[in-house]
C-alpha cells in the first residue's frame, strides 16, 4: 500500500512523463497550424516513423557505440535528421502545391500522407511489434515507496532542454521572428523580402524533428514499438495543442503536460476505463469557458 502523498508524487511523475510526450508532438501540430493553418494529421505518423528510424539506427550502432545512453542519443540525433528531412519533403511534395487551394484540400492531403506513412511502415515491419532492448542501468532516486528512475529524469531533462532551445529560437533568432511574422501575415512578409516557403520548410523540419525525439524517447521508456503507435498519440497530442491554444508554442507545452497530468489523475480517481472520459470532460468544460485554448489568442478575421 502506498500513502496518499506517495500516490500523488508517483502519479505526478507519471503524468509529467506522459505529458512531455504529448507536449513534444503537440509542438509540431501547433507550429504548423500557426504558420499555414494546416492541421497536419500526418504528424502522429512522423512520431511513429521517428521511433522506427531510431530503432534501426540504434540496432546498427549498438555493436560499436554500445546500447546505453551513447547509442540512444546518437539514434535520437539520426531520427531527428531523418524525420526532419521527411517532414520537409512531405511539405515540399504534398502540401506546397496546395498552399493556395482551399484549406480542406490540404487537410485531406494530410490524412493521405498519414495513411501512406502508416501503411509503408506496416509493410516494412510486417505489422509486427519490435522490441527496443537497451542496457541503460536501472535505478534512480527513491522517496519511500516511490522510485523515480534515471531514465525518467533524463527524458524530462531532454524535453525541458528542447523546449528552452525552441523558445529561444522562436523568440530571438531571425528565423524565429520570420516564423512569427508569417503566422501573422503571409503576403506582407513576402513583400518584405522574407523567403516564406523556406521558413515554412524550416517549421516542418523542426516540428518533425521534435516528434522524432518523442518517438525515440518512447522506445527507450516503453521498450516496444509498432506501426499504429502514432495514431492515438497523434490524437492526444492534437488535443493537447488545442487545449494550449493551437498556434501557440508555450500553449502546446502547457497543454501537453496538462493532458498527461489529467489522465494520471483520472486513472487514480475514477479508474483506467474512465480516464479519457474524465480528462476529456474537463477539457470540454474548459474549452466552453475559453474556446481559444489556454494561451491562444482570439483571431480577428479581417473582412
Amino acid at each position: 500500500m502506498l500513502s496518499a502523498g506517495e500516490v500523488i508524487l508517483q502519479q505526478l511523475m507519471n503524468g509529467l512523463i506522459l505529458g512531455s510526450f504529448y507536449a513534444l508532438i503537440a509542438l509540431g501540430y501547433s507550429m504548423v497550424y500557426g504558420i499555414i493553418k494546416l492541421l497536419n494529421f500526418a504528424h502522429g505518423d512522423i512520431y511513429m516513423t521517428g521511433a522506427f528510424v531510431g530503432f534501426f539506427v540504434f540496432g546498427i550502432l549498438a555493436g560499436t557505440v554500445g546500447s546505453s545512453w551513447g547509442g540512444v542519443i546518437l539514434a535520437m540525433l539520426a531520427a531527428m535528421c531523418v524525420c526532419g528531412l521527411l517532414g520537409f519533403l512531405i511539405q515540399l511534395l504534398a502540401y506546397r502545391p496546395l498552399f493556395d487551394a482551399p484549406r480542406l484540400s490540404l487537410l485531406i492531403t494530410a490524412i493521405g500522407v498519414s495513411l501512406i506513412l502508416y501503411n509503408t511502415v506496416m509493410i516494412i515491419t510486417n505489422g509486427e511489434y519490435m522490441f527496443f532492448q537497451h542496457s541503460i542501468p536501472a535505478g534512480g532516486l527513491t522517496f519511500g515507496n516511490v522510485t523515480i528512475t534515471w531514465v525518467q529524469l533524463v527524458l524530462l531533462a531532454i524535453t525541458a532542454v528542447l523546449m528552452l532551445v525552441l523558445s529561444w529560437f522562436i523568440g530571438t533568432t531571425i528565423w524565429g521572428k520570420a516564423m512569427r511574422a508569417i503566422s501573422l501575415d503571409k503576403p506582407t512578409c513576402r513583400l518584405m523580402g522574407i523567403n516564406v516557403n523556406k521558413i515554412i520548410g524550416l517549421t516542418f523540419f523542426i516540428g518533425s524533428a521534435l516528434a522524432a525525439v518523442a518517438g525515440v524517447m518512447s522506445c527507450v521508456y516503453y521498450g516496444s514499438l509498432h506501426y499504429f503507435m502514432g495514431y492515438m498519440m497523434g490524437i492526444k497530442a492534437f488535443t493537447a495543442a488545442v487545449i494550449g491554444g493551437i498556434g501557440s508554442i508555450p500553449g502546446a507545452m502547457l497543454g501537453g503536460l496538462l493532458l498527461g497530468l489529467l489522465e494520471a489523475a483520472g486513472t487514480q480517481a475514477l479508474g483506467s476505463s474512465w480516464k479519457d472520459v474524465f480528462a476529456f470532460s474537463l477539457l470540454i468544460i474548459m474549452l466552453i469557458f475559453k474556446p481559444t485554448g489556454l494561451l491562444g489568442k482570439t483571431e480577428i478575421e479581417r473582412m
Partner: protein, 395 residues
C-alpha cells in the same frame, strides 16, 4: 500548361497502378472459380475420390497478432501436407486458402465474405475473439462448418451456432486453473488488467464473477488501450489498491510493456498472464523483468507427449519453433479429417454430427465436445518464466 500535363501524367500513372493492382488480384479470383468447378464435381459424386476438399482459414496474418496468425497457417499447412502425403481424406486432397482478419472486427467481416465467396467446404481459424465473432454468423448463414482453433471467448458459446465448435478451452476453464494457482500461492487480493476488447474483457469479467466465489478479492480492474504506451498511472493505482497478484488478461505484445512498467513502477507482488501472452516472445520482450511471471496457458507443445517430434518437424519446415496455439491448429485439421472419414462424405449434417461425437486424443489434449460445443475437459496448464524459459508448474 506544363502543370496540366504533369497532372495528366500523374492521373495516368495512378490509373496504371490501379490496373496493375487489379491484374494481380485477378489471379486468386480465377483460382476461386476453379475451386467452384471442383466443388461441383464433388457434389455430383461424393464417393468418388481424386477431388479437392477446400478449407478456408480466417487468421490475423498482419497486425499486432501477426505472429500467431502466421503460426496458425503454418500449423494447418503442416497437418494438411501430412494428410495429403498419406493419401488424403477419402481419396480427396485437402487444400488451404487464407484470408487475413488482422485481429480487427471490420476486416474480419470482409475476410469472411471473401472466404464464403470462394465456396470452401469447411472453415477453420479464428484467433482474436473480437474479430472471430462477427465472422461466425456469416459462416453459419452460408452453411459452412467452422472449427474455431484459438479464440476462446464464452461469447462464442453464447452465439449457440450449431456448426461452430471451439477447439480451445474457453476463458472459464482458464479461471478455474488460475484459482488453483492463487490458492497454492496463498494470496487473496487480485487485480486484473484487460484491453477493453471482447477476448480480454471477457477473461477479466470471468475473474470478477468466479474468483470472489472462490474466496478471493478483486481489488482493481484496470483497462489498458491496445497499443497504448503508458500504463504507469494504472500501476500506481494497482499498488495503491494493495494488490498482491496482478492478472494480465491481454496479449503478449502489450503484456511485456505492462510487466516492465509494473516492475519499474515498484510493484513487487505476483504477476500472471492469460493465454494471450503465452508466447516465447513475451520472455524476450520482458527481459529480466519477466522472471517469475506466471502464465495460464493452453497446452504447451514442449511439455506434451510426442511434442519433441512435432517441434523438430515444424522447425525443420519453417525455420522457427511452433507458437503456443500451433498444436490446437494442427489437431483442428485432424479432427476435421476424422469427422469427414466417420461421416463418409463432406455432407454438412453428417460431418457436423461426427464432430459433435468425436473423441480425439491430439497433441493439445483430449478433444471431445460438450453439448454447447465447448471442450468437455479443460486443457489449461500453468507455466512460470524461469531463467528465460517456460517451466511447467503444478498448481
Amino acid at each position: 500548361m506544363t502543370k496540366k500535363w504533369l497532372l495528366l501524367l500523374i492521373m495516368v500513372l495512378t490509373l496504371a497502378l490501379f490496373a496493375f493492382g487489379c491484374a494481380e488480384s485477378g489471379e486468386p479470383a480465377t483460382e476461386g472459380q476453379g475451386g467452384e468447378e471442383q466443388a461441383g464435381e464433388e457434389s455430383t459424386g461424393e464417393e468418388t475420390s481424386g477431388g479437392v476438399i477446400e478449407i478456408g482459414v480466417l487468421a490475423p496474418t498482419t497486425g499486432s497478432e501477426a505472429y500467431y496468425g502466421n503460426d496458425m497457417v503454418q500449423s494447418y499447412q503442416m497437418a494438411i501436407d501430412e494428410i495429403n502425403e498419406a493419401g488424403g481424406v477419402l481419396g480427396n486432397t485437402l487444400e488451404l486458402f487464407v484470408e487475413d482478419d488482422a485481429c480487427d472486427a471490420a476486416q474480419a467481416a470482409t475476410a469472411a465474405s471473401k472466404i464464403i465467396s470462394a465456396e470452401p467446404d469447411f472453415v477453420v481459424g479464428g484467433y482474436c475473439s473480437g474479430a472471430t465473432i462477427p465472422a461466425l454468423q456469416q459462416f453459419y448463414d452460408a452453411g459452412l462448418i467452422m472449427l474455431v482453433s484459438c479464440a476462446n471467448s464464452t461469447n462464442i458459446t453464447d452465439l449457440a451456432l450449431e456448426q461452430t465448435f471451439m477447439i480451445n478451452s474457453p476463458g472459464t476453464h482458464a479461471v478455474q486453473t488460475l484459482s488453483a494457482l492463487l490458492s497454492s500461492l496463498g494470496v487473496t487480493k487480485v487485480a486484473t488488467i484487460h484491453q477493453g476488447d471482447d477476448y480480454t474483457k471477457n477473461l477479466s469479467d470471468i475473474c470478477e464473477a468466479q474468483l470472489p466465489e472462490a474466496g478471493f478479492e478483486i481489488v482493481a480492474v484496470e483497462v489498458m488501450e491496445k497499443g497504448a504506451a503508458d500504463v504507469s498511472a494504472i500501476v500506481t493505482a494497482i499498488r495503491n489498491a494493495g494488490a498482491e497478484f496482478v492478472y494480465w488478461c491481454g496479449y503478449h505484445a502489450d503484456g511485456s510493456n505492462v510487466i516492465k512498467q509494473l516492475r519499474q513502477g515498484g510493484y513487487e507482488g505476483y504477476i500472471c498472464c492469460g493465454d494471450g501472452s503465452a508466447s516465447p516472445e513475451l520472455i524476450t520482450a520482458c527481459g529480466p523483468d519477466g522472471e517469475g511471471v506466471y502464465v495460464t496457458s493452453p497446452p504447451n507443445v514442449e511439455l506434451a507427449e510426442g511434442g519433441e517430434e512435432y517441434i523438430a518437424k515444424y522447425t525443420d519446415l519453417y525455420g522457427t519453433g511452433p507458437g503456443a496455439y500451433s498444436t490446437l491448429c494442427y489437431d483442428t485439421i485432424y479432427v476435421l479429417k476424422e469427422a469427414i472419414e466417420t461421416a463418409g462424405s463432406t455432407d454438412y449434417e453428417a460431418v457436423r454430427d461426427a464432430i459433435q461425437n468425436i473423441e480425439y486424443q491430439g497433441l493439445s489434449g483430449l478433444i471431445k465436445f460438450a453439448e454447447n460445443r465447448e471442450l468437455a475437459v479443460s486443457n489449461f496448464i500453468v507455466m512460470q518464466i524461469e531463467d528465460g524459459a517456460f517451466k511447467l508448474i503444478e498448481p
